[in-house]
Symmetry: C2
Subunit: 275 residues, 2 copies
């Protein structure tokens, strides 16, 4: 039996990315009864543009299937217009902002868009710098400037270091370098020399040998590199080395880059932020 489809409008005066992420999370609790078709409407700042969208919302409602609306618009007039549409209106910030105004006994100061994503802000500039640093320091390709790194990831080739590094840079403005652990390191029983002074920034990724062989095979099928024997050897040696060197590590096998990143922040005590 296929589930009925519900249209979801993501309406924002900015990019709508917060509304989209939020909406996705909320609707994941309703996927047993509906499938959802999401329509993104970013940069809605005029009444003309909004009226055109409301017309489409009302048309769907008139056909008997009122769409769901997630909105993060801040302009009071626009919000009131949207609230009077025939869709199921969810003002995602509204309830929380009201509770805070009451609890803190202050008025909120609406800002259109999200200031910390403002391309002219210092915080944004720092993020872009972090992304550039991280790209330049991928896979041990550049060893200068490691004293500036916030995090240095280590692990065997294809254990998930690169996507995790990029996520940490993009989401948290962290400068991340990553270094492969290779058979030469295992023979010496030592970390690569260049990263030894930065032990407090190190975090290791490991992975199940079977999964590693699969991933490597996509890249270089039927090679020594992707053989299960080689993968077993490298993973065992890398885990042994990390244990000996007292480096925190986790297995990335069934973890998303978000989950890995969150753990890295916890372990390296980078999980506080001020704004």
């Amino acid at each position: 039996m296929s589930l009925p489809q519900k249209t979801v409008f993501i309406i924002s005066d900015g990019t709508g990315i917060t509304a989209e992420t939020f909406g996705h999370s909320v609707l994941s609790q309703f996927t047993h009864v509906y499938t959802f078709k999401q329509v993104r409407e970013p940069f809605v700042t005029t009444i003309e543009k909004l009226k055109e969208i409301i017309a489409r919302i009302d048309a769907l409602a008139d056909e008997g299937n009122p769409p769901i609306i997630f909105s993060t618009m801040v302009d009071h007039d626009l919000v009131e217009h949207l609230r009077r549409s025939k869709g199921i209106f969810l003002d995602i910030f509204g309830a929380c902002v009201n509770t805070l105004e009451l609890s803190l006994n202050v008025r909120s100061q609406p800002t259109v868009g999200r200031s910390h994503l403002d391309a002219n802000s210092e915080a944004y500039h720092k993020r872009i710098e972090a992304i550039n640093f991280t790209l330049a320091h991928d896979d041990g390709q550049f060893v200068h400037g490691l004293q500036e790194a916030d995090v240095i990831l280590v692990g065997v080739s294809r254990s998930g270091k690169t996507p995790t590094s990029l996520y940490l840079a993009m989401q948290y403005a962290l400068k991340v370098a990553n270094f492969p652990l290779i058979p030469e390191d295992f023979e010496r029983g030592q970390l690569p020399k260049t990263i030894k002074p930065y032990r407090h920034k190190l975090f290791g990724l490991s992975i199940q040998p079977e999964r590693l062989a699969e991933i490597r095979s996509e890249r270089r099928p039927n090679s020594q590199y992707s053989s299960i024997e080689q993968c077993r050897y490298e993973v065992a040696e890398a885990e042994h080395l990390m244990r000996m060197q007292n480096i925190s590590w986790l297995s990335s096998t069934s973890k998303s880059i978000e989950e890995i990143s969150t753990t890295v922040l916890q372990i390296l005590k980078l999980d506080q932020d001020t704004y």
Copy 2:
């Protein structure tokens, strides 16, 4: 006069990334009265762990400064415990889930964590593939497989193509290639040959020459490459070429990668999603 500081707890049974983004947006409407110190508490799935956090919340409240709590926990017992703490509790999904249950006349089905970020899901696998594709196709370095690309960004060197490409891959699981436009292309008055067949996937980035000169100077100070004359020449030629070739483009000068990405999705009609 410095503003008083308020502690903010982000408490989640998963990574807490949704709660953090959401909390940041809500609190940006209160930065005229407070500064915020954010403490992230991810992976809270046991009552023992939660009680330890509540003790810290209550201690702050007893000192006269009750912290703000953003929570996305789903387990009913845990939520009720947290609700009885002395902090200012904001159950960010609660209100929306309730409204939807009433409007749709169905029960929600709570899921711990967010399924579409599940590392074992097809959607997640697609995201990682997109990131790998995008890294391999950065800066025109690899011209094979362009038929698989969802988006191909073009623009002069340092106009913002790489961070935008990575954001599109990471956030939207899109395979993005990017190609620099160089003086050789301008002389020929033509797009690079390899990308000509994919006109419908092309999107251009431009930038103010003054800003471009600044960015290039960080990399190669006092070079021909970073001179204002060279930047003016390249930008004028690139914009002329994009206009001639009928390619949609925008100026990245004062736009964030989120804003640029959102526009790319709109223009290339990639802004619908089903789940």
